[in-house]
């Protein structure tokens, strides 16, 4: 047999009877499983998830679920096909041994794999003081259970809700509170809401939007401590300027932490910003060498992006989980030259205060912004972000139909400011500074992060030259 024929035979055999393990049973994990079967993988498939639930969708949790329109257990994800998997739900993966190719579970079991997909996502950053975080009425929101509990308390209703952190999720929670008629205070350390993700110019518009809807918004301030009553229920928050806010529900929306601890000692390029991988989802080892058997997708992945100077991007976006999972799954059952790259143009949506906010590209990569359509006063507009004369991102407020236009320009590295779309043009399209905070200043952590060029935060082992 020729080498080529042998390789083809190996691929066929792997597809027929290989063993694939997916860790993380949510959006990315499920879509990867479905894609593997679509691609003709008939071997054994094991899906490990630490939550007791089958895969569900998270975006509705901070929107229709909190509002009480949709019950928290109603967000189960649709199934595109049978995946015929061995589901191990309610048990966490606690270790990875790449030498013996086994995943260790919390119950002591070892699950062998030929190829592994890491899709463990992120978790909510908890309020840093554990005693205060344990008070009744203090919440974070990431899971179905979190949303169910918070919804119940919002329905009571509380006399005031305090939201700490005005990123997308914090702003959505504040919006729901106002829709329910609940007084709400938002405390944000940065200069404005959404400032990490969209910059200060848009942040100022978001701030005005919140205030117009009756939110007591306090920026440039931190919460220093939470105070409970004798029954252990939160009642008051003390702020960094010495003032206090009385609230009986507190939602800490402080960004997220990537679920990588279980990979400790595995020798993968896993760290604070996630697991480094190439644009095809293949994980890097700690020395920056690509692995053949470990893949990554979704919120926990971090890959270089051709449009953004090959900087590693970590993206907590729904479509990144879907498309990253599909790409990784395809590559898991194919060989070069049939690998596919995950070259997604990042995109995000958020509904708050009755406005549909959408973005495309990576706004924090830009340093300038120009309003290109609509009217800021009416909060129906599009704005483009630029860097060195190139358009790198766009944001729309109730102007979603135009996102595709900007997306195309970004893909083609079009000029900034962009050519006038020829419709609904504002009188002034002059670029101005986009006002992103210095990345070293701790503020609301954006959900797309430029994480530098290095595949691993850890030190690689350097060897002297021998030849």
């Amino acid at each position: 047999m020729t080498l080529r024929a042998t390789v083809a035979e190996l691929v066929r055999e792997f597809r027929a009877s290989g063993r694939i393990v997916i860790v993380g049973a949510s959006l990315a994990g499920l879509r990867a499983a479905e894609t593997l079967r679509d691609e003709g993988f008939t071997g054994s498939l094991t899906i490990i998830g630490d939550e007791p639930y089958e895969p569900y969708d998270r975006p509705p949790l901070s929107k229709q679920v909190l509002k009480g329109w949709v019950p928290a257990d109603h967000t189960k994800l649709p199934r595109m096909r049978e995946v015929d998997a061995d589901w191990r739900l309610g048990v966490a993966a606690t270790g990875l041994d790449r030498a013996t190719k086994q995943v260790r579970l919390a119950n002591g079991e070892l699950i062998p794999y030929d190829r592994l997909l890491i899709a463990t996502g992120t978790r909510a950053r908890q309020w840093p003081n554990p005693a205060e975080a344990a008070l009744h009425g203090v919440h974070t929101i990431r899971s179905r259970d979190d949303a169910a509990q918070l919804q119940k308390e919002l329905a009571e209703p509380p006399s005031r809700v305090l939201v700490i952190g005005a990123g997308f999720i914090g702003s959505e929670v504040a919006s729901v509170c106002r829709e329910l008629g609940i007084p709400v205070t938002v405390v944000e350390r940065g200069a404005a809401p959404l400032v990490g993700a969209l910059g200060g110019v848009i942040g100022e518009i978001a701030a005005q939007l919140q205030r117009d809807h009756g939110v007591d918004l306090r920026c440039g301030l931190g919460v220093s401590s939470l105070e409970g009553d004798p029954g252990g229920h939160v009642r008051r928050a003390h702020l960094s300027d010495g003032s206090a806010v009385d609230a009986d529900v507190v939602v800490a929306s402080l960004g997220s932490i990537r679920n990588v601890e279980w990979l400790e000692g595995s020798g993968l390029a896993a760290g604070f910003w996630g697991v480094g991988c190439d644009a095809g989802g293949r994980a890097f080892d700690i020395n920056g060498v690509v692995t053949d058997s470990v893949y990554v997708a979704g919120d926990v992945a971090r890959a270089p992006h051709v449009l953004y100077e090959y900087q590693f991007l970590a993206m907590e976006h729904w479509d990144n989980a879907v498309l990253g999972a599909e790409t990784a799954a395809h590559n898991m059952v194919n060989l070069e030259p049939h690998y596919r790259p995950h070259l997604l143009l990042p995109g995000f949506w958020s509904g708050q205060f009755g406005v549909n906010i959408k973005s495309v590209g990576v706004p924090p990569f830009g340093d300038e912004i120009a309003f290109t359509q609509g009217s800021v006063a009416e909060r129906r507009f599009a704005a483009a972000y630029g860097r060195r004369g190139r358009i790198v991102a766009a944001v729309t407020f109730d102007h979603g139909k135009w996102l595709e236009y900007y997306g195309k320009l970004i893909e083609q590295s079009g000029p900034f400011p962009p050519p006038p779309p020829g419709w609904d043009q504002p009188p002034d399209m002059k670029p101005m500074p986009a006002e992103f905070p210095d990345p070293r200043v701790p503020t609301a952590i954006p959900d797309v992060v430029l994480t530098g060029h290095a595949p691993s935060e850890r030190t690689a082992e350097f060897r002297p030259r021998r030849h």
Partner: protein
């Protein structure tokens, strides 16, 4: 039944709201919210909405319920 709307794609045309207003709602001018797991009686309505959506953003399950081995 289970559905998910790809809100990156959705452009707020509200066709779905018109065809299945118990399942889809607009919150403001163009922010769509929906009931992800509507009653099975609504299947026909939702399927019509999915077909009518000009950007094909509505994804409907093709497999009923959970599979063997799942715990919920």
């Amino acid at each position: 039944m289970r559905i998910v709307v790809d809100l990156n794609r959705c452009q707020g045309y509200a066709q779905c709201v018109y065809l299945a207003h118990e399942v889809f709602r607009l919150n403001g001018q163009e922010a769509l919210t929906y009931e992800p797991n509507p009653d099975d009686e609504r299947r026909l309505q939702v399927e019509r909405a999915a077909v009518a959506c000009p950007v094909q953003a509505i994804v409907i399950d093709r497999v009923d319920g959970a599979e063997r081995g799942e715990t919920s």
